[in-house]
Amino acid sequence: MSLLTVNDLRTYFHTRNGVYRAVDGVSFSVARGETLGIVGESGSGKSVTCYSLMGLVPQPPGRIESGTAMFDGVDLLHCSPAESCRIRGKRIAMIFQDPMTSLNPYLRISEQLIEPLLIHEKLSKAEAIRRGLEALEAVGINDPAKRMSLYPHEFSGGMRQRVMIAMALITKPELLIADEPTTALDVTVQAQILELIKKMQRELGMAVIFITHDLGVVSGLCDRVQVMYAGRIVETTDTRTLFYQPKHPYTRALQRSIPSLQPKGSELYTIRGMPPDLSKPLPGCPFAPRCEFAVEKCITTPVRLTEVAPGHSHACLRAQLGEI
């Protein structure tokens, strides 16, 4: 029984230059306690997918055209505002890429940190502060009593991200959505934050959706990975299969362009061309114009995400037919 099941999600942006199909028919599910990685380059729709679930897509210009997202029997995309308020920030929490801009610079850490408790658990302020201290301690902030009354600018980047995590986890959510939480941090601090997310996940038994463009981060953290391209999922499978037996040409190309996997001094593999313009219709495979294996039918025939082995699905026509 999965915790979250997303079916045929389509989020379009209606702009002056046409309809931009940022997320175009995405279906996936997350089980309790599982870590799902969503990988893709900028503009692949990985963030917009999660923003849609959290109701954070600005409408207009954005519009969720179709789809359902069942979270424990409630459709997140069509439920009443009151219902979604009971879930968001309580049972589903989110942390963002940039800890500089996602904390309110005018509020002390204490006020922002305990806000979810005051709203969702109706605790008294004293009780909430006590829980807040515990939460800061759990994420490894020394001297939390003193730090509680400081403002965000008095913290370093890594400390702010810890505060963000403490805030997200203070209501003990069942699902954490982490949108590139370590991209803005140094590698040594990134290592601290990744360890922290793993530790908190073990303690709370929550599911995590981890959005990133860094395949290295995914390999150590995630149980399953889905690769997105041009608003669609092109391949999804368990982490080992994705790294050792990738099937979709885009996944393979992505891996071949990472420097650490290649012998030193060799020329890196590059994907020719550019990602497609999502406001133009794409009848076939969105990757076909850049794919070295593409043939005529790839450009014209619609391709579906199809299960090729238990738990392994991809959307490559030629790989499905066994041609490559």
């Binding site: 380059e41 990134q190 001094g265």
Partner: protein, 327 residues
């Protein structure tokens, strides 16, 4: 190295920290770069790595004379740049060019690509004015852009293409050295590979020396001949690229290498990661002795007392750690 093209001798760049507008009070000094000795060979690619705030960008700016040097000297092809008069410095400075991190911010949005690339050619009188259009077209071709885009503006290009324009601009003055400050950090993996290939190819073809600054060690290892690791304004380890990454000797380099996530699930899960406690200390009040001792898992009393000099480690390697043989 027999004939280095660039030599840094005990370079220091300090910034005063003051408070108040009229009656300035001196609060302290940020020692952004604090005694760096480096040489760069002809055609060599030197990687410079370290966390944010370690002074790697300030070092680049010091070499480019974008910030004044506090002490020490920068010697380019045997001529001291720090003491040179403005004309000489400008003439010498032409031989070093810089590519910045953010291709969105480093190009003037109001200038066409032609104007951006023609400006250095005209200012430095690199060719007769009549030949400028042909030279601009040539530069664009060198970096893999079609010359027909000459009259477009930066916003009409993608991040990777803009970084190509920035590289073309750096090449316009036929420099001997290019300093690239995080040139691929803002780009996606597939685009990053294109820019890395381009820089490596240009370096080979034109026999350019390259100082490549990045925080991503796998990228630096791929492109560099030697790597210098910086921590809090000082170089802590310097040596051949593959050796430094595969067999790091300084405890900080070890922690840095172990922190990089590798795209390989089996090794990634089996690995013991050295997680450093805390954040890098403030460069205003650096710790006494070895800068790294408060976070170092091997620190002893003697580490707090003396500032470690760079001593020879493995062949071709220098390491700033007093416990080098012991750990």
């Amino acid at each position: 190295m027999s004939d280095p093209i660039l030599e840094l001798r005990d370079v220091k760049t300090h910034f005063p920290v003051t408070q108040g507008f009229i009656f300035k009070r001196h609060l302290g000094t940020v020692k952004a770069v604090d005694g760096v000795n480096l040489t760069l060979g002809r055609g060599e690619v030197l990687g410079l790595v370290g966390e944010s705030g370690c002074g790697k960008s300030t070092l680049a700016r010091t070499i480019m004379r974008l910030v004044p040097t506090t002490a020490g000297s920068v010697v380019l092809e045997g001529k001291n740049l720090t003491g040179a008069d403005a004309d000489t410095a400008r003439e010498l400075g032409r031989k070093m060019q810089m590519v910045f991190q953010d291709p969105y911010a480093s190009l003037n949005p109001r200038l066409t690509i032609y104007a951006t690339l023609a400006e250095p050619l005209l200012v430095h009188r690199m060719c007769p004015p009549a030949d400028v259009p042909a030279r601009v077209a040539e530069l664009m071709e060198v970096v893999g852009l079609a010359p027909r885009f000459m009259q477009k503006y930066p916003h009409e290009f993608s991040g990777g293409q803009r970084q190509r324009i920035a590289i073309a601009r750096a090449l316009a003055l036929q420099p001997r050295i290019i300093i690239a400050d995080e040139p691929v950090s803002a780009l996606d993996v597939s685009i990053q590979a294109q820019i890395l290939n381009l820089l490596a190819e240009l370096g080979r073809k034109m026999n350019l020396s390259l100082i490549f600054i990045a925080h991503d060690l796998s990228v630096v290892k791929h492109i560099s001949d030697r790597i210098a690791v910086m921590y809090l304004g000082k170089i802590v380890e310097l040596g051949p690229a593959a050796d430094v990454i595969e067999r790091p000797q300084h405890p900080y380099t070890r922690a840095l290498v172990s922190a990089i996530p590798t795209p390989n699930p089996d090794t990634e899960r089996a690995r013991q990661r050295i997680v450093l406690p805390g954040d890098p200390p403030s460069p205003i009040n650096p710790p006494a002795g070895c800068n790294f001792h408060p976070r170092c898992p091997h620190a002893q009393e003697k580490c707090k007392a003396t500032e470690p000099p760079l001593i020879p480690g493995e062949p071709g390697r220098t390491v700033a750690c007093v416990r080098l043989g012991e750990i």
